[in-house]
Symmetry: D2
Subunit: 163 residues, 4 copies
């Protein structure tokens, strides 16, 4: 079995630009992470975009949908900014692909000492192997269906919402 991991950026992959003193994007940390967590599942990494999800337009989300359609694999994990993750999940969910797609991200960039990034990746990579076709969000140790989740922006956590 192979899993495609589609990288789209978000807080997960933020990079610290020390000259400007700000958080930006440079490369993805996924290759390095998958190595030290000793993941033996075959993973295809696709660097799709590196963007803050607050800066996404519908074209960015359709670009992700296109990658999901084109993928050989029918199990896909997408790393994504948390702020509009539910919107991308909605676009993907409505497309009704015959695939299992799990979106995840991080509230704290991987490059920080106490980040949720690696925990969430473990969550998503496991969920995508166990769930039936459909689109899901894996955050905060939970798995949510694409049409039953929202981000509580004030508390910084994801929660179920009525369908």
């Amino acid at each position: 079995m192979a899993i495609r991991v589609i990288i789209t950026g978000g807080t997960f992959d933020k990079h610290y630009d020390e000259i400007r003193g700000s958080l930006t994007f440079k490369d993805s940390h996924l290759p390095e992470i998958l190595a030290f967590v000793r993941c033996t599942v075959r993973i295809e990494l696709e660097l799709n975009q590196l963007i803050d999800s607050l800066d996404m337009h519908i074209s960015n989300r359709l670009q992700i949908l296109e990658s999901c359609r084109r993928a050989e694999e029918d199990r896909i994990v997408i790393t994504h900014g948390t702020d509009t993750m539910a919107e991308t999940a909605d676009v993907l969910g409505k497309a009704g692909l015959a695939k299992t797609i799990v979106l995840t991200g991080a509230m704290v960039p991987y490059i920080f000492n106490n980040s949720d990034a690696v925990f969430n990746l473990g969550s998503a990579i496991t969920a995508v192997q166990l769930l039936p076709n459909g689109v899901y969000i894996a955050m905060n140790g939970r798995v949510f269906p694409w049409d039953g989740v929202r981000k509580d922006r004030e508390r910084g956590v994801f929660e179920a919402k009525g369908l």
Copy 2:
């Protein structure tokens, strides 16, 4: 839904004793980890023992089985040394409890920079919510049934074995 996390030690929770210059046990890091990964699932933590799984006797494994029986929760994650994790899984599997039990651990202690501990925890906490009753091992990004897994001691990874 609540998950019971039964801590039994293993490499996951090793502690560095700087006076002796060796790896030993002190406390569990689970409370601290669950905090920074922002896990919103209700977790009951049980410190069952802190032992290297190579030092386990059948009594240690029965102590874990007893905790599983007694637990109010029917979803249980067990952190355990990797060397004899499959043996404990076997004891639990044969008991046939009406619960979902997932064992996990780490090849590199949590206290190290590049540890698989947190990834595996994310894996297990997710798996235990998605799997039907039974006993499983979550390691290396995979989920194995209790009676179909072995640890390859030379390569340091878990793999499926014929039943």
Copy 3:
């Protein structure tokens, strides 16, 4: 011998606000750092301000000078933003106090995996014990006199400048 460490913020002590997704200030990490580096020198910690040095006005620098004057200790380390560290060093240098004062900071916040913060702190705490009265900057593994240093903003390092 006691050393006073006057905390003024800067990149060293930046904190990640995950709700806003930005770097800000919260508390200082100095207490925690001094503990795990096993520093046995007596340290008095003074939380003077938590500010980006680009936001400093002369009043902020005079507040630091005042703390240096008032200090019982005659050996003082100051953690400070790097962008205008040389300006504060200039204010302190011209005051000509009968004390040894060493300013240091970090290009990458302590909370990041690969930060120079702890190295610089080791540098400064050692330098302040070995140098004669005067004001200095300890960055990049070097020690500079207050009137012979500038920050190269493009390369992000400190270098000697003609007096």
Copy 4:
């Protein structure tokens, strides 16, 4: 000015062997550390040996002395196990070289999250530029002369001892 850093191992550079589950030696982390701490001093790295200082014989210490003699640089930092660091300092001190030599090490390996390794390196690299010819130990934020220091093995810290 150039500083020679002579690597001899010790806890500083311990490596975790996950197959055996023990601490051993593999490579030195000095190159990686010097990069991320943004040290602009010219450093010559010499991998002299990788040994636990408890396993050192006089021949190991004479090998270090020989390297110090041969070095082009007259400022030398030596990373060394803490247990018998004072003994090597003694051998070097008695040789009376016209150089400044500072030994340092770590109580907790660099590869651990809360290690004193990087702080001590910052300490030593700074001390070696400020001290007159002689042999010193830089540990716990202090600098000790070679003939006035001992390691308190119970508390795990270095302290001055009467000459």
